[in-house]
């Protein structure tokens, strides 16, 4: 789709001194007519999503705690120093990275295996697909409550109930959340995001040109060779897409951390850390500094990720 299709080239060649000529103003009017449908959405999104970040940047250089309103003032880089030296903040960075990488990797691998199981014809395939989607359609807070109380609870949760069924009265009854707090959160998130990965990868598998696969099979290629050399390259862009979209949402996860551990036991990720600094501790300056650091980190990662999407996107528009 060429952008200058409607722009006559002779107009571009004219000297800028004659900018007020009717044809140029017509072109300008045409440009604005093109832009007009875009502007409401663009301006709205810029105002609502970008202005708050600018304000966050300003507040991050201020000494501002809502509990001490008289001490408001310029703080320089103090907030940033405090965030960088705060052991909880550094812990939150590590937790965020661990949580995101573990959830994306595990749900991606599980999703790929299940998508391959579902990419075959068998009795009740539609029903199994519907069963698989169910976790994704539970409201995240509700899902977190379900895992915390109905599954993980050491006294009456289903996991320990199953252990009692299997091993009788002397069965081990672990307290899952205090034993492995971060993994408890990770598994609850993986349960919800595996269906997402599975759906996108299944769509990828079903778009494979099957006559080529069949030809390879007739030529004597075995299942692993077909998977390694044909399926995986074809799936690459679907894997990248699902990993990127999954990461965008999981990196911001608040619901599961808030519900399952309330950020305790070393599971506070950055969204929870900022929420607590601002909402409970009312330290606006420090919360904003943490927010700015998150945004800078996200921009670095997002630039790399966007490049990946951009290559996908160029393939699509070709």
């Amino acid at each position: 789709m060429s952008t200058n299709a409607a722009t006559p080239t002779e107009e571009q060649a004219r000297p800028p001194a004659r900018a007020n000529e009717p044809s140029t103003s017509l072109k300008k009017a045409g440009d604005w007519a093109r832009r007009a449908p875009l502007l409401p959405a663009l301006i709205f999104v810029i105002i609502v999503t970008q202005l708050p970040f600018l304000a966050t940047l300003v507040v991050s250089f201020m000494n501002w705690n809502a509990y001490y309103p008289d001490e408001r003032g310029f703080a320089g880089f103090d907030n940033f120093k405090r965030v960088f030296t705060d052991i909880n903040a550094r812990q939150a960075v590590i937790v965020t990275i661990l949580l995101t990488v573990a959830c994306v990797l595990i749900s991606l691998i599980l999703g790929l295996l299940i998508a391959m199981l579902l990419d075959r014809k068998f009795r009740g395939r539609g029903a199994v697909r519907t069963l698989m989607i169910t976790p994704f359609l539970i409201v995240p807070v509700a899902a977190a409550l379900l895992w915390k109380h109905a599954l993980y609870n050491p006294e009456y949760g289903l996991f320990n109930g199953v252990l009692t069924w299997l091993f009788g009265k002397d069965a081990p009854q672990p307290d899952w959340i205090s034993m492995a707090p971060l993994w408890s959160i990770i598994f609850a998130i993986v349960w919800q995001w595996t269906p997402f990965m599975m759906l996108i990868l299944l769509a990828g598998l079903q778009s494979r040109p099957l006559d080529v696969v069949e030809a390879a099979r007739i030529d004597g290629a075995n299942g692993w060779q077909i998977f390694r050399n044909m399926t995986l390259p074809h799936l690459r862009q679907y894997i990248e897409l699902s990993a990127l979209l999954g990461a965008i949402y999981i990196v911001q996860n608040f619901d599961h951390v808030f519900t399952i551990t309330s950020g305790g036991l070393g599971t506070a990720n950055l969204p929870y850390f900022i929420y607590e600094t601002f909402y409970t501790a009312q330290d606006y300056g420090r919360a904003s500094a943490a927010g700015v650091i998150v945004v800078i980190g996200t921009i670095i990662i997002a630039t790399l990720a966007l490049r990946t999407v951009f290559s996908l996107f160029k393939e699509e528009s070709r």
């Binding site: 959405a41 609870n153 966007l306």
Partner: protein
Amino acid sequence: MTATTRTDDPGRMPQSQGARAGSGGVQIVHRKQPRSHALLSLAAWVIGLLFALPVIWMILTSFHSETDAATNPPSVFAPLSLEGYRTFFAAGPWPSLLNSLTASVISTILVLLLSFPAAYALSIRPVKKWTDVLFFFLSTKMLPIVAGILPIYIFAQKTHLLDNIWLLIILYTSMNTPIAVWMLRSFLAEVPVEMLEAAEVDGAGLIRTLREIIAPVVMPGIAAAALICFIFSWNELLLARVLTGTVAGTAPVFLTGFVTSQGLFLAKVCAASLIVSLPVLTAGFAAQDKLVQGLSMGAIK
């Protein structure tokens, strides 16, 4: 990335058809041994049931009495009871459910009104640097909401918009507009240019072109965008928790405050979780193929 459209209802997948859509009518012969095939099918069933098990357990528990819900080993065959639902509805969930419905429906409508013209300006008559604009929209999804929540909170406090459902509507609209722009653009890119030129020759204006030529082609895209925007707004917790209170609190906020009481609460929490998830479950099951389109932001059709 244009994947083959599979319009057949996945709930009623034809069993006997060998050829797949898009395979050029080549008959696919499965030459695997029937035993391994049966084993793989069994594995698929077991995994599917395992993933659905927590939800099945939630439904079963919600219909048990509180004492039967909290036993070890679990009392699967305990008599059914509506106690959990009675406690849930007695707690007054209707205002929060209504708030969620208002915020989700109105913000979804606003998202569509904003993003449809924008998607038009990014595909059919693209503005200069349209790819930059498109990636700007995507980049806003990568900035964590939590980094901007403090100024929004202070702004709402100063303008007395705290605990006002319209504040959530505006924020949800901005949160979902980028997704809808991406999705609708990918659908609009498939509108045949000849149809548009013919309409131009006939002297049809922008509004008429949008309504009569483009809208019918992208209706599936609009449906998918609406579904996904509705689900994301309905699910949202962080903004709702920080910015609303007793008046404009949404259903997820209501859920978080439901476990504070002493004593047994598992049955009523399961009942509440199920009721709050019901709109998403219904919409998602009814439109499974739209769900894939929506989640992939239109990259997969």
